[in-house]
């Protein structure tokens, strides 16, 4: 049987969920026997190929996030929303309590120590959405794995159950939102 292909990425997140994947420690060896990583910070592959599973941490805060997320959706059979930011918008979404103008003004116009204060307009910089959104408001999500980050144990339970076709059943201490 060929290995399942897995891609991962972080959008408006902190890479904490990826750190938690690394926390799988020696279980990573078992994992790479079961799956092959495609696009992922782990492989440094930049372009996603056709995959069985996509795992995304972080919410959607800008146009680039939307492009990457759509790309993942169209390339992955199963898409997993991992961590508080992907699921709820999380800490980045706390800016939703302010208008985008207030946020940009604070960062680029009225903040301390700014010279030639202006709101950046370089096309290289992804444009911000007016609000940060969880993934499921932009594409269809098949599974949710909460946590900030989900513990390595939770990730392990989740992946092994998913890969073996079992229903997902996290233990009490593996299900948390923080």
């Amino acid at each position: 049987m060929s290995k399942l292909k897995v891609a991962t990425c972080s959008l408006a997140g902190c890479f904490g969920c990826h750190m938690s994947i690394l926390d799988l420690d020696e279980r990573l060896f078992t994992l790479v026997d079961l799956v092959e990583f495609d696009r992922s910070p782990i492989t440094d592959i930049k372009q996603i190929g056709v995959c069985d599973v996509g795992i995304i941490e972080g919410g959607v805060c800008n146009a680039e996030n939307v492009h990457v997320l759509r790309e993942f959706r169209s390339h992955c059979n199963i898409l997993i929303s991992m961590g508080a930011c992907a699921i709820t918008g999380g800490v980045p979404a706390m800016r939703n309590r302010f208008t985008l103008k207030e946020c940009l003004d604070e960062s680029y116009i009225s903040g301390m120590g700014l010279l030639d204060a202006q709101i950046p307009n370089d096309p290289e910089i992804p444009l911000l959405l007016s609000k940060v959104h969880p993934l499921h408001e932009v594409v269809k999500i098949d599974y949710f794995l909460p946590g900030c980050p989900p513990s390595a144990d939770a990730i392990w339970t989740f992946l092994t159950q998913l890969l073996s076709g079992q229903p997902i059943a996290l233990s009490y201490t593996q299900l948390h939102y923080d």
Binding site: A63, T99, I119, P123, L127, L129, K140
Partner: protein, 628 residues
Amino acid sequence: MLVEPGTLGQTVEEIVQRHGSLPTRLLQILREVQDSLTWLSPEAMDVVAKALGLSPDKVCRVAEFYSFLYTTPRGSYDILFSDNITDRMLGSRQLLRYLCDKLGVGIGQPRADGRVTVGVTSCTGMCDQGPAALVNGYALTALDKPRLDRIASLVNQLAPLSEWPPEYFEVTTNIRRADILLGRHFADGAALRAVLKRGPEAMLEELVKSGLRGQGGAGFKLALKWISCRDAPGAVKYVVCNADEGEPGTFKDRVLMQEYADLVFEGMTLCGRVIGARQGFVYLRGEYRYLLEPLTVTLQRRREIGLLGKNILGEPGFDFDIDIHLGAGAYVCGEESALIESLEGKHGVPRIRPPFPTTHGYLNQPTVVNNVETFAVTAKIAAEGGAWFASRGTLESKGTKLLSVSGDCERPGIYEYPFGVTVRRVLEDCGARDAQGIQMAGPAGHTISPKQYDRRICFDDLSTGGSFMVFAKHRDILDGMRNFAHFFVHESCGFCTPCRVGTSLLCDLVDKVHTGHGARADLDEMRRLGRIMKAGSHCGLGQTAPNSVLDSLDQFPEAWMRRLRSTSYEPAFDLDASLGEARRLSGRDDPGAHLPDEYSDMVRLAGLLAEREAPLSDDERNLLGVMP
């Protein structure tokens, strides 16, 4: 119209005293204070609170709860268009915009000179003679552009309402079909004479024999309710007439209160005699403000001829009187325990039940709450006997039912039928030749498609409070569903989670699909929300709020499917529009500053592919999500 600040205290004081400084009159007091001030300023509310010895937050709670009470400034003329789907069918939205343009005012915002506000409100119960509106609480009917032209100039001239053309305020009763309730003459006092002659016990037997059930829609056996209240411990008992006819599309209680008020009052007095109550209340919906004076006159006349007051018909100890309380724009107050809360001067959040009003009602005393139509019928039964009534209708639903017919038909109005009449028969009688569907019993009721036109209107099949709104074939039935979804968002009291949050979530999804941005997944989510709201909500409002959406998903699936995109999933918001603010702030408009709609790209691509037989490029595969 406006009162000088210096006289504020005096104005409020006068009003409060006229109401005996009773906290139970708070809602009435606030209505009147607003009538003189156009809105309830914090200062005005403070004065009311002090005068009644209430904490300011209680007064504020009431002021903020009712949609006809304003805690921000309004115009001296407050014009509210009835926003029911039947008004919309008659062009109310265009008229609303027309008047706003004419007056130079935005929707819901007072004009800069403070003279006028134009807004919308839930159904005002004039569905058979819309488009309708309220001006300073008084009903306007049959609006059209010439009338609005005139209204605009009257407003600009500051003409008092008494100088407006009286025909603008004319409310016709449109009784199209009369049966035993509307058709037979009733001699005032006949029911009361009967109860005096035969005694309350015999009257109850007649009511049992009649099989009469509450005509508000719930269908509780009337005699059981009265007996339960009569037998409940408590020296003071109350009779409450629910004239808070808020179900959009219903107006039969308005007709009864306008033309048959004696019958209703007589039914209430009869109830007082049977259960041992001396005080009755009519809870009249704020939209029927225009009925207050005529009803007050009727009550006074009945007192003068000995049908109300002390020693009714000369019978020592037969004391009963009736007060009218006006509502102030809250559909939830049609729920009997919320109505009682409102009657006590509070905001109208439904109580925990049990205990039920028959044991713990107004001021926690045993109380009978019945609908206007129910009281009218009891008076007839008392005069003519239970068997006479039971000879009409079906086995489980005795007697007749008033239907308020509106929407796409030639003869909208009131139709009285024996229970058991088929939907088809009603459609034929009202001249609805091309009905694609009916909304029965209001947005909380049943959405009926032609394959159900042979169903019968009665408690064991299609139960109804009386609303019957017809949608012709050329209508988009989803316009109705969307209108109803917004109605429930506006009318949820906010007490319990499933209704408070669920009505908003459901409405957003209906909007999404209706505007062509929905996908299959949204319909599934609507069904799940509906299940949660029905099972979980605290009162009937939340439990029935998803009915029209759920029914129409079953009965008119093609109406929903037609609106869906071919995708299985669509984003919850407009992605490109969400970049608009950043585009403006950064001054960017390059391609990277836009998010093309995936769907339109796919449609375009699918069109291209249909013309071409070459294999897909990688980009095209990506876009279509095609796996190799």
